[in-house]
Amino acid sequence: MAGTRTMLIWCPDWPVIASGVDGPVAVVHANQVVVCSAEARAYGVRRGLRKRDAQARCPKLTVVAHDPARDARAFEPVIATVERLVAGAAVLRPGVCAVAARGPARYFGGEERAAEHIIEQVAVESGVEALVGIAEGSFAALLAARAGRIIPPGGVPEFLADLPISTLERPELAPLLRRLGIRTLGAFAALPASDVLARFGLDAALVHRLAAGDDDRPLAVRRPPPDLEVEERFDEPIERVDVAAFAAKALAERLHGKLAGHGLACTRLVIEAVTADGQGLQRIWRHEGVLTPTAISDRVRWQLDGWLTHHRLVGGIITLRLVPDGVVRQVSLQPGLWGEAGAERDRAHRSMHRIQGLLGPESVFTAVASGGRDPWTRFRLVPWGDERVPARPAGPWPGHLPAPWPALVRSGEADFLDAEGQPLGVSARLELSGQPARVTVDGSTVEVTQWAGPWPVDERWWDGRVARRLARMQVLLADSRALLLTLVAGQWKLSLEYD
């Protein structure tokens, strides 16, 4: 089912315009360039570059920190202009707003004329150059706006077919699809939807529908439960931005709690405010996926910030209401936590959740392969539910224990004696003090038949607090047990058993 015909107004490089700086500008977040101005692009600065690389390419570059609140505040007059021309404009993010195309097309006598008129008005009133794209569904409309085109009705699948996967803006999914040989949206849309859902999860299934040019409201609940909106009345009218931010956060949490209680999430949010002199303000925010609680809170905060800064409100805001829209069923477990979707995974997760309820959160673990020299550092046990992040990076780790890995990682006392019954020592030149003869471990003494080593390990000698010097030896005992013994500070210990 194709989406409604949407007109999308896109201001290119909006964070740069919002910052108000001229010349070559780059907006930087987490040490990476997020947006850059056209002059900076002429010097070779691109999205994703590190700040230093960008500054190297363009010495006169002005670097501005990323501030979504500032972007939203600055976008408020633009969206106010659009709202004066057409009804029902919704903000997707600062710099992008969408409106149903049918109304303005009828009013202005054609889609092209409506687009021109809006661009002109926005340029006149806000001094901002905007581009307009019209297509079915906001995803296709945004891509059309980037190309500055109006896609004829029914032409969306054809328009999307040749676009690359990177336009989906899913950095985890895109390399995976590329490795599977899927490089265009057309190829992705050709996959069966149920397979995509099973293999990649809910988010990928939503994006798959977008790639096919379908409705971007796929899983709306047919009869959402009533009374999902939350409202707050304030005794003191809110006139300051920080008070508004605090109120926004509290209200957003209430809304999310209500939605989560029903197992739902929303993709659109209507923010309504009433001021002390009876003026009513309303704004619709849309999102491609589901809105997380932080996203809801951020958008309410930005919106209140924008209203308080730009509208000359005589009184402050006395009522704030949030109405969720585009409500969908929420998958309770995040896909990607354990790497796959599927009924077996959900069953396993439910079991682990129950055991954590029984024994505590630190009772069920999963193993994460990490970097390290020994089996106990190579594999980190992470409580189930925590992020599976390796503690140390992978790498050559010289001096690591060679494969094959042992089946048991034990720790215990051991006595390693030579033929004369003396404890075996290892000199600084890695020479044994005698012939290895007997090992006492687990309370019993066994003859040594074969051995190898000593292998030295000298870790972190530059840091006196954590420096470790030890020597390892593999031994094969007469009862066919194979062990790894470690000599630390003159004392032998049992480290591993090759069971």
Binding site: A343, H349, S351, S480
Partner: protein, 213 residues
């Protein structure tokens, strides 16, 4: 006996079809040398297969080898009560670490823990009996019945009262070590199994020269 070998070929093709890990399939796949040891052409869902210590070391490797192929094919495995498990050996055998759950210290309520795991996982390895001493036969049969009802495989790691099959290592010979040089490289492991009838034997290289078994 051309007829007998033709019949054996037919059986092999049937095993190939039944090699899926989905809940509906009755059989979980298992490494081919172990297939001759079990009374079924794989790990049958709902069964109890015990791995005990035998005359030689290597019991942990036998347990890991038993669940390796199923885990590689997509099954979810859990190991209860074995805090010393060497995860490197598990990963080498092909066990998927992101589908392996570990409960190293289940405590006194380990039977509840195992019951909950049998609900959600395809294979549950239980090594709790050794520390707590003997397990009461009533408890054992309750866990076996739960495994049968849920279609999961219960693998007791230690003594168990009348499982449907028992595996243990009989002989383990390491190669590669010398007197002062070399290192442990390969191991020849003879696994013995008993279900109904006389014990059967199979030899595996665990780990083997070509990283395959």
């Amino acid at each position: 006996m051309a007829g007998g070998s033709a019949l054996a070929q037919l059986k092999r093709a049937d095993e190939l079809l039944a090699g899926g890990v989905a809940q509906g399939a009755g059989m979980l796949p298992v490494l081919s040398p172990l297939r001759d040891l079990l009374p079924w052409p794989g790990l049958r869902r709902g069964s109890t297969v015990a791995v005990t210590r035998g005359g030689s070391p290597g019991a942990t490797s036998v347990m890991l080898a038993l669940i390796a192929e199923a885990s590689r094919a997509g099954a979810w495995c859990a190991v209860v009560g074995l805090p010393e498990l060497g995860l490197g050996a598990a990963q080498e055998l092909g066990i998927a670490l992101d589908r392996l759950a570990l409960v190293p210290h289940p405590g006194p309520r380990w039977t509840d823990v195992v019951s909950i795991l049998l609900d959600g996982f395809d294979i549950v390895v239980v090594a709790a009996g050794n520390s707590a001493g003997e397990i009461a036969p009533a408890v054992q049969s309750r866990l076996e019945a739960r495994a049968r009802a849920r279609g999961s495989v219960l693998v007791p790691f230690g003594a168990w009262n009348r499982p449907q099959a028992t595996l243990w290592p009989e002989r383990s010979v390491w190669h590669g070590l010398g007197r002062g040089g070399g290192r442990l490289r390969w191991r020849e492991l003879v696994i013995c199994a008993r279900s109904k009838g006389p014990p059967r034997r199979a030899t595996l290289w665990l780990p083997g020269p070509a990283r395959t078994i």
